[in-house]
């Protein structure tokens, strides 16, 4: 194809770090990890759901358990010192990666979803009330949509949704209408996990700040793929998950501006987040520990930092270039195939994923058939049910790319989609 020559780094060499990419599929799914019962090589295009984890990250996690496993923060013994330093410095690594001022602005959470809930509970439940409103978009992931919807119900605050245009972009006129002086929070997805749209966070932040509202950008699909600087974006809160960016499951981060986090009451209560406790009352630890109650996800936090170091070694600009290349190629080839409807903006202006439907083929059938070809895509509503309702479809198939995916894998996808189309014709 000659497209490989455009790769911004040595993709084939990098694939060696991901043994799961050598999986053959077709085995007995009831016996995971027991190896293939078939010879179909895996083509993994479900990276927006979760990315794979390279050996250096898996090894970092294993090394924690094998060399210096201990509880953090309060131990005087050496293992605890080592674990504490590594866990606390992981916050610095994450902070640096997204341009936060320091560890005091980075709270480790379970995932993006918990980060959203943390702010909804610790800030929203306290600050919102009847007459206030929270502005979302029609393309929000359930992580923010359901959370603010339910917090709205509990506090009496109104929840509004910025329209999505036919091209899959935010209607910024509608945004300007909806965001008003009663708006307390604008919660918006940075890169849509269904449409691939890259939203104009800076503009939305300006709109929100003009009305003294906060902005929470959901970076679950942006941080894995592009260089992000929260200060440049001008957001007040930002969240992302390690498992979508070469990191372990079970860990994510909330960025919050220090003044705001400082003014917020705690969210989870327990050990490690307190300063003094009596039977009557308690006082709280400094940031970010105030928001990390109980034994934290130590191994996963350390693994998160290792994932960031892995990505930084490649360079986020190169990762983004690779995603752009694959997304545009997939968009073009699926379009050329015919009988395929693709959702969202054009191929040269989107994050690294393509959601589509094939005429006459239900997305779940399509996904089953692609699975027979070893191709892993996601079929469903991708946690954006209301957006799917707006698009008038129950489900879409979504192919999403990451740094180890290749042009050949997209060729395999396109060919298999063609076969499915013909099967149902």
């Amino acid at each position: 194809m000659g497209v490989q020559e455009q790769y911004s780094f040595d993709v084939e060499a990098l694939r060696a770090d991901f043994p799961v990419l050598d999986r053959k599929v077709g085995g007995d799914p009831e016996s995971p990890g027991e190896g293939p019962g078939d010879d179909t090589p895996l083509v993994y295009l479900d990276n927006a759901a979760t990315s794979h984890t390279p050996d250096p990250v898996v090894d970092t996690v294993a090394d924690y358990y094998r060399s210096y496993n201990a509880n953090v923060h309060r131990g005087i013994h050496q293992l605890s010192q080592e674990a504490s330093v590594a866990y606390e410095e992981a916050h610095d690594t994450v902070a640096d990666f997204v341009g936060a001022a320091g560890r005091e602005e980075i709270v480790f959470t379970k995932n993006t979803t918990e980060a959203m809930n943390l702010v909804a509970y610790a800030w929203g439940l306290e600050e919102l009330g009847p007459g206030d409103n929270v502005v979302l978009t029609e393309m929000e992931h359930h992580a923010s949509l359901v959370t603010w919807q339910q917090i709205g119900k509990r506090t009496g605050a109104d929840v509004r949704f910025v329209d999505v245009t036919d091209e899959g972009r935010l209607d910024m006129d509608d945004a300007a209408d909806l965001i008003d002086d009663d708006t307390q929070m604008v919660s918006v997805v940075h890169v849509s996990n269904t449409l691939g749209t890259i939203n104009p966070i800076g503009e939305l932040a300006d709109l929100a700040h003009d009305h003294d509202a906060y902005v929470f950008a959901d970076g679950a699909q942006s941080v894995p793929n592009r260089a992000v600087d929260v200060k440049e974006l001008g957001v007040d809160f930002f969240a992302f998950s390690a498992h979508k960016m070469c990191g372990p499951t079970g860990i994510g981060a909330l960025y919050g501006r220090e003044e705001i986090l400082d003014s917020m009451q705690p969210y989870l209560y327990g050990g490690d987040m307190i300063r003094r406790v009596s039977f009557e009352d308690s006082t709280w630890e400094d940031l970010p520990w105030k928001f990390e109650a109980g034994t934290p996800s130590i191994a996963q936090g350390i693994g998160f930092a290792a994932a960031i170091e892995y990505l930084e070694e490649i360079g986020m600009d190169r990762v983004e270039a690779h995603e752009d290349l694959l997304a545009e190629y997939a968009h073009d080839e699926l379009t050329a195939l015919g009988g395929v409807e693709i959702y969202g903006p054009p191929g040269d202006d989107r994050g690294g994923l393509v959601a589509f439907n094939v005429e006459g083929v239900h997305a779940h059938d399509l996904s089953s058939i692609l699975n027979d070809y070893g191709i892993a895509v996601r079929a469903g509503d991708h946690c954006t049910q209301p957006l799917h309702d707006e698009m008038g479809v129950a489900a879409t198939a979504r192919a999403s790319f990451y740094l180890y995916n290749t042009i050949e894998e997209i060729d395999a996808l396109v060919e298999a989609v063609g076969e499915a189309r013909d099967l149902f014709a």
Binding site: P29, T40, H364, D365, S368, I369, D372, Y373, A394
Partner: protein, 140 residues
């Protein structure tokens, strides 16, 4: 190829493209709707019984969904003709896959059994064994 391809044998595709007994009964003895939310599948089953209420005499189904759920409902609608209601109640997942004649991959079983579940639940409601407010949902 793995399990899935097998799922789209000619017979399944034929039932999907040309569903049998598709539509509604004018005076069903019972009618019931169920869904499989993760797939967005929805199926309605209309059933007519004999005088004794023990044997199924007529079946229509309609709805919207993936090939597996639609073909399974279509094949079931043929199978149910003349079947004792007791026998319907005894149908389990194995009976459905046997009827389909293909291996169903685990994540699609809920599609395959939707039609049967709707028919069983409809009959149970008819017999007052199930609260009519209970929705039929096939999802673990």
């Amino acid at each position: 190829m793995g399990l899935g391809s097998d799922m789209y044998r000619q017979q399944i595709l034929d039932h999907y493209k040309n569903p049998r007994n598709y539509g509604e009964l004018e005076e069903p003895d019972f009618t019931h709707v169920g869904e499989n939310p993760s797939c967005g599948d929805t199926i309605q089953m209309d059933v007519g019984l004999d005088e004794a209420g023990e044997t199924i005499e007529s079946v229509r189904f309609n709805g919207d969904g993936c090939a597996i759920s639609m073909a399974s409902a279509s094949m079931l609608s043929e199978r149910l003709h003349g079947m004792a209601v007791e026998e319907l109640h005894e149908m389990d997942t194995d009976d459905v896959t046997e009827m389909l004649g293909v291996d169903i991959s685990p994540m699609r079983v809920k599609c395959a059994v939707l039609g049967r579940q709707v028919a069983q639940d409809g009959s149970k409601i008819h017999r007052d064994e199930l609260d009519p407010d209970d929705r039929t949902i096939t999802e673990e």
